[in-house]
C-alpha cells in the first residue's frame, strides 16, 4: 500500500465553463455562474438562484453524437462529456491497454426524466425508454460505454454531497492496492425539481447569491456539474511517460453520527475526516498550504466546518476559501469539480477568492481568503460534507 496515485487527466463541465480552461479562467477572474433558473419550470423561479449549465440537453446529445432514440438523463449527458474530456486530456488513445475501471458518483441519477414523465410512463410508450435510466447506476453504465470501458470494475457511489470525493477515494485505494492500473473517478448531477423542492423544504436555499462563511449567509444555491479525473498507477505513468498533474496523497471519510441532515455543532465528522486524510498522507497540518472548504453557505455547514477546520489546524491555519459562490452546490459532483479546482490551484500556485463575503462570522475569528492570491503551493486539502453525516477530505499534492 505504498504506491502513488497520479492524476493524469481532468474534465469538467459546470456553470462557470464547459471545460478545464474555461473553469480556470472564471475562477481567476471572479466570474460567477449563478443566475435565475431557465431550463426547469418551477414555481420557485423567482425566489432561488442556481448554477445552471448553458447547454440544452439537445446540444449535449449532439455533442456526444447520440441518436434521437437515446435514453440519456441530463446527469448521464453531463457525465459523459466531462469523462471524455478527462480521457482526452490524459492522452489515452486506447483505453483497453491497461486494466481500467470507472467510479462515478451521483445523487439525482435520472430523476430529471422521472419527474418529467412520472405519470406519462403509465400511458405513453414513447417515454418508457427513460424508465431504465432512472436508477443511479445507469448514468455510470452510459459513461463507461462512452469511454469504451468493458468487462471491468464500474460502480457508483451515492453519499449525498460527499459522493464524488468518495468516488475519488475509492479509486485511489483501487490504484494503491494494485487492483486496477487506471481508474476514471468523479461525479455528475443535474438540476432537478426534486432537489430544488427538497432543499426548499429544508429551508436552506438562498434567494440571492450564496455567501460562504459570511455572518449573514442565507443558504446555498443549487448547481449542476460533472467532473472526472484519470488516476493512474506508477507503472502506467512510467510506461507512458505521463505528465502528472498532481498526486492524491491523502483521504479520509468519517461519519458525524449526529443527525440525518444537520452537521454536529463542533464538526466531529469533518474533524475526523481531515485528521484521517492527514494521517494517510503522513502529513502534519502545517503541510497543507490551502483548504478548499465545502462552504455551502448554509448556517449549519459553515459553522460546523469552520469549527472543525479550527480544531484540526488551530493556529497553523492556511488560507481557505469556498468556491460554491462560483458554481453553486453541485451535490454529488461537488467533490469532483473541487478536486479539479484543487489541482488547478497546485498547477498555477493560485488560491481562489471566497466571493460575496462581507461580514465576519461571530462564532470564530477565521476569515476566508477574499482576494485571488499567488502562493507557492505544495498541497491542498479539499472537504466534502453531506447528508447522513457523511464527511470526506482529500489531499492533493505536487509531489508523490
Amino acid at each position: 500500500m505504498s504506491k502513488g496515485v497520479a492524476i493524469t487527466g481532468m474534465g469538467i463541465i459546470s456553470a462557470i465553463g464547459n471545460n478545464v480552461t474555461e473553469n480556470y479562467q472564471s475562477l481567476i477572474n471572479g466570474k460567477k455562474g449563478i443566475s435565475r433558473i431557465s431550463k426547469i419550470k418551477t414555481i420557485h423561479q423567482g425566489d432561488i438562484m442556481v448554477g445552471e449549465i448553458a447547454s440544452t440537453n439537445l446540444e449535449l446529445e449532439k455533442q456526444l453524437g447520440l441518436t434521437s432514440d437515446n435514453n440519456y438523463s441530463r446527469t448521464a449527458l453531463l457525465g459523459a462529456i466531462a469523462a471524455k474530456q478527462a480521457i482526452e486530456h490524459a492522452g489515452i488513445l486506447d483505453i483497453t491497454t491497461y486494466k481500467t475501471g470507472l467510479i462515478s458518483a451521483t445523487s439525482v441519477g435520472g430523476m430529471d426524466r422521472t419527474e418529467a414523465y412520472y405519470y406519462d410512463y403509465l400511458k405513453n410508450k414513447d417515454v418508457q425508454k427513460y424508465i431504465e435510466g432512472h436508477h443511479a447506476g445507469d448514468s455510470t453504465q452510459k459513461i463507461a460505454e462512452q469511454l469504451g470501458i468493458k468487462k471491468s470494475l464500474v460502480t457508483t457511489i451515492s453519499t449525498a454531497c460527499s459522493s464524488a470525493a468518495n468516488a475519488i477515494m475509492f479509486g485511489a485505494r483501487l490504484i494503491k492496492s494494485g487492483k486496477l492500473d487506471r481508474v476514471v473517478v468523479g461525479g455528475t448531477d443535474c438540476l432537478s425539481k426534486f432537489t430544488i423542492n427538497g432543499f426548499k423544504t429544508l429551508m436552506i436555499l438562498s434567494d440571492t447569491y450564496n455567501t460562504p462563511f459570511d455572518e449573514n449567509r442565507k443558504g446555498l444555491n443549487l448547481g449542476e456539474a460533472a467532473a472526472f479525473l484519470v488516476l493512474e498507477s506508477d507503472k502506467v505513468v512510467t510506461a507512458e511517460s505521463r505528465d502528472v498533474l498532481a498526486y492524491i496523497k491523502g483521504y479520509g471519510n468519517a461519519n458525524d453520527a449526529y443527525h440525518q441532515t444537520a452537521s454536529s455543532e463542533n464538526g466531529d465528522g469533518a474533524t475526523l475526516a481531515m485528521q484521517k486524510a492527514l494521517e494517510v498522507a503522513k502529513f502534519i497540518p502545517a503541510d497543507i498550504d490551502y483548504i478548499n472548504a465545502h462552504g455551502t453557505a448554509t448556517g449549519n455547514n459553515d459553522l460546523s466546518e469552520g469549527r472543525a477546520i479550527l480544531r484540526v489546524f488551530g493556529d497553523k491555519l492556511p488560507e481557505f476559501s469556498s468556491t460554491k459562490a462560483y458554481t453553486g452546490h453541485t451535490l454529488a459532483a461537488a467533490g469532483a469539480i473541487e478536486a479539479v479546482y484543487a489541482v488547478l490551484a497546485l498547477q498555477n500556485n493560485i488560491i481562489y477568492p471566497n466571493l460575496n463575503f462581507e461580514t465576519q462570522m461571530k462564532e470564530f475569528n477565521i476569515t476566508p481568503q477574499l482576494q485571488l492570491k499567488k502562493k507557492e503551493l505544495q498541497s491542498v486539502l479539499s472537504n466534502s460534507l453531506g447528508f447522513g453525516g457523511n464527511c470526506s477530505s482529500l489531499i492533493f499534492s505536487k509531489k508523490q
Partner: protein
Amino acid sequence: MSKVYINGIGSISSQKTFGNNDFLEKILVYTNNVIPVVNPDYKEYIDPVAARRMAKGIKMGVVASRIALRDAGLENVDAIITGTGMGCVRDSEKFVSAIIDNDEKYLTPTSFIQSTHNTVGGQIALGLQCKGYNFTYVHASISFESTLLDAKLQLENDEANTILIGGVDEQGEHTIAIHKLINHIKLEKIETTKLLGSNTAGTIFGEGANFFVVSNKKQDSTYAEVLAVETYNTLLETEVLNTVILFLKDNNISVENIDAIVLGNNGDIQYDMFYNKLSSGLFKDTQQVYYKHLCGEFNTASSFGIWLASKILKTQKLPEAIKINKKSKENYRTILLYNQYRGENHSLTLLRKC
C-alpha cells in the same frame, strides 16, 4: 495480506430468515409476480417510536444489521458500507408525486430526506454511534458486491478490522407498476417454485435486506472466508465462460474444487441463458443452487445469495428447495456465486469453508 471472513449474518427476506436458527427448513411459496418480505417484530430491535418514523428500507437495514452484529458478538464496527439499487424508493415516489400533484406546494422534507441513497447507512451509523468510514454503493445488481470489494480491500490491508456490509432494497408501488409496463416483471402471476420453468420474459420482484459482519480475524461464529469478488459492467453471453475460467485461474481454483455454484437465475427467458452457459457446460456435474424463487429479484438480491452460501458452508447443509440439479456431496468446501441482471453488471464471488 490479511484474510477476510464473514463472522455474522442477518437476513430479512421473503422467507423466514431473520431468526438465524433454522436454514430454510420450511419454504414459503408465493403465487404472485411481486413478493413481500416476512417482517420480523421490528419492535424487538428498535424503539417503536423511532420505527414508526422509519422508511421500510431503513427499518429492514437497521434490523438486519443488528442481527448480523449480534451474530458476530459485536456492539460496533470500524466501518459501515451499504449497497442499494434504489434506496428508499417509496419516499422518492412520495416526493416526486407530491411535487407533481400539488404543483410544488405543501411539501414536507421527510420523504426527501429519506429518499437520499445513503439514508440507510447514515441511520445505521446514527443508531450505533459509529463515526467510522461510511459508504453507499448504488450500482444496480453489483451494489452489494461493491460493498464486499471495498470492505475486502480495507480488511486485507488492515485499514479496518470489522466492517458491516449489506444490501437493502424496498418495493415501491409506482416503480413496480412501470416495470410491469416494460415487462421486467412477468405479466402473469406464477407459483414461485415454478420460476425457472416459466418460459416467459421478466421475473418476479422482491425486496429485502442482507447484512454481514466481515473481519480480518476468524472467530467461533465465522461462516466462511471470502476468497475473491469481481464485478464486470458488461459481459457478452459468449464471454461468460472464459471470464469464469480466468477468474478461477487467478484464484488457483479448479472447476473440480467448486462444491456448489450459486446462480442468480430469475426465470427470465431472455437472460437466464447467461447462467445456462455455466450450468449446462463447465459446471454440469457440480451441485447447482438458485435462490431468486425464494427472495425475488431486486438490485441487491445477490446479497441473499451470499447469505445462502454462508449458511451452506457453516451448516454443511444444502436445503432441497434451492437445488437446481441433484448431486450427492458430503462436504461443501468452496462455493462460487455468479449473478447478473438483464445481461449487465455481472459478479463472481468465491467463498470457502473455514
